[in-house]
């Protein structure tokens, strides 16, 4: 079970208190009427599914109830950072080099 730090409560709590909300920073198209089917598919279904650092949303469902974002390494499940909505901490997304 993951141990997750809520950036609002500033506490590490067990995963059971949290709900995963999918990949982060996917913005809904601003003008839906002009969006093509391809762009809808990209927005709705296509995901980066990164092997390595992954930006994702979580919700502290059984705590403060707030949404926040995180960068987690999907190879190890270790959190690199969790951060509040509206923030975007720079993180060099180092691709895995399997060589």
């Amino acid at each position: 079970m993951l141990l997750i730090t809520c950036p609002y409560c500033e506490e590490s709590r067990p995963e059971l208190e949290f709900h995963y909300e999918g990949e982060a920073h996917i913005a809904r198209p601003l003008n839906p009427t002009t969006v093509s089917d391809e762009e809808w598919a990209e927005f709705l279904y296509v995901r980066s599914n990164s092997r390595g650092p992954h930006r994702e949303r979580w919700r502290h469902l059984h705590g403060c109830g707030r949404f926040f974002n995180a960068i987690r390494d999907t190879r190890t499940d270790k959190f690199i950072i969790t951060y509040r909505q509206g923030e975007f901490p720079e993180h060099e997304i180092v691709e895995e080099t399997p060589k």
Binding site: L2, Y20, A41, Y45, N49, R51, E56, T74, R75
Partner: protein
């Protein structure tokens, strides 16, 4: 290499089974092939086998980064059935089920396919309604699936407790008699051996790290940790790692990778004659030929390549099994493990061409692709050979995410298998 038969078995008994030859070669990769398959799981090996058998002569290689069958193929709970809701999926999975029936003799390898029946328990009026809808849909397609009363269910699987005062009473069950289980490793090994005999190079410890495209945008070669291998046709059959491989060709696909876990108990005497699944309690269970109870859990909530899920997920599966079968409370679990399942939004696979010419993909089987192994390999081989989707594969094209023509088994299944 000679066929397996009673005679060869007796011969090798005389030499204490010390002289069995290697079941497949370990060739060094050649500089080029007609077709390169990325991923030596059941689906990739089956693809190579049907390519060689039905579409040859072709120079074919299967590149596997670890050992064959070491991915989801060797980690799954081996439930096989074809009673899916939608026509496209029912047809595809039933195509596979028909191939399972004869697979051991086709491959001259005992895959231990055991059609012992897959039973899904109904605990509520909603379960009853949805199962009966499935049954009707299947019957219209000529696929067996039948409704059992609680008494009939108990007759088929005597360990069921059909007391109607239980917390989750068994109100009936849907049974597919042709469904069952098979030996997962044997499926990988059987296809590998049969493909090798047809000249396919199976290259283990060979990880694809890049895909090279020509000026025309079509694939030209793969870069691996064992050197560059040219091929104008590449089939990616890499389950949970497919997004990474598509990324090498500059593509993004509608897929996410999640951990999925399973457990086996200590072996006990035969007690469990069929496969039982309960969507409501969320458990599925069968007994292996060795006597272990094989228990499947659900996926974790987050994307991960770690092949390790949370302990609370595994213990939840045990709670569910104990709820249904209190007699298993004192059984000890021997092992638990995780796989990397490749999940699409409609819980149906993606099979076919990609926007990059020469690059084909077969993925998205998620929590339930073992049962499809022979059919998946068969239709994918035809798709690669003809550069055109096999008719059973056509509905599963990548383009459905743009057109909206989903094959929505997500709501239909609701349990990982």
């Amino acid at each position: 290499m000679s066929d397996f038969s009673l005679l060869t078995l007796l011969q090798h008994t005389l030499s204490n089974h010390r002289k069995w030859p290697k079941q497949w070669r370990s060739p060094a990769p050649k500089a080029s092939y007609d077709v390169v398959i990325i991923g030596g799981g059941g689906h990739g090996l089956a693809t190579a086998y049907y390519l060689a058998k039905n579409h040859g002569p072709l120079r074919i290689a299967v590149l596997e980064k670890g050992w064959i069958g070491g991915g989801n193929t060797g980690r799954n709970t081996t439930i096989i059935r074809s009673n899916y809701l939608w026509e496209a999926s029912a047809n595809l999975y039933d195509h596979a089920l028909k191939l399972w029936a004869n697979l051991s003799s086709e491959l001259n390898y005992n895959v231990m396919f055991s059609p012992r029946g897959v039973m899904m328990l109904a605990h509520s009026i909603h379960d009853e309604q949805i199962f009966n809808r499935h049954i009707r849909a299947n019957q219209l397609l000529g696929i067996d699936n039948e409704w059992l009363t609680p008494q009939e269910a108990k007759q088929f699987c005597p360990v069921l407790d059909i007391d109607q005062n239980r917390r989750y009473p068994i109100r009936g069950a849907a049974l597919q008699r042709r469904g069952g289980v098979a030996r997962h490793d044997a499926v990988a090994w059987g296809y590998a051996r049969a493909a090798d005999r047809l000249g396919v190079d199976i290259i283990q410890n060979c990880e694809v790290i890049d895909i090279e495209k020509g000026t025309d945008g079509a694939v030209r070669a793969v870069e691996t940790n064992r050197g560059r291998i040219e091929s104008e046709r590449i089939g990616a059959v890499a389950a949970g790692n497919t997004s990474v491989i598509m990324g090498m060709a500059g593509l993004r696909i509608p897929l996410e990778t999640y951990p999925l876990q399973a457990l086996v108990s200590e072996p006990v005497k035969p007690i469990f004659p069929c496969v039982v699944m309960s969507n409501t309690v969320h458990a599925y269970i069968s007994q292996s030929s060795k006597g272990e109870l094989v228990i499947g859990a659900s996926t974790d909530q987050y994307v991960s390549y770690s092949q390790t899920g949370g302990l609370h997920i595994a213990s939840h599966a045990l709670e569910a099994v104990n709820e249904m079968f209190p007699m298993f409370r004192r059984l000890r679990m021997l092992r638990s493990w995780g796989g990397r399942v490749d999940v699409t939004v409609d819980r149906s696979p993606i099979i076919g061409k990609t926007p990059v010419p020469g690059l084909f993909v077969n993925c998205g089987w998620g929590t339930g692709g073992f049962k499809a192994t022979p059919g998946s390999g068969h239709v994918f081989a035809a798709t690669i050979a003809n550069d055109e989707p096999h008719h059973l594969a056509a509905p599963f094209a990548l383009s459905r995410f743009v057109s909206g023509a989903f094959i929505d088994e997500a709501a239909a299944a609701a349990v990982s298998h």
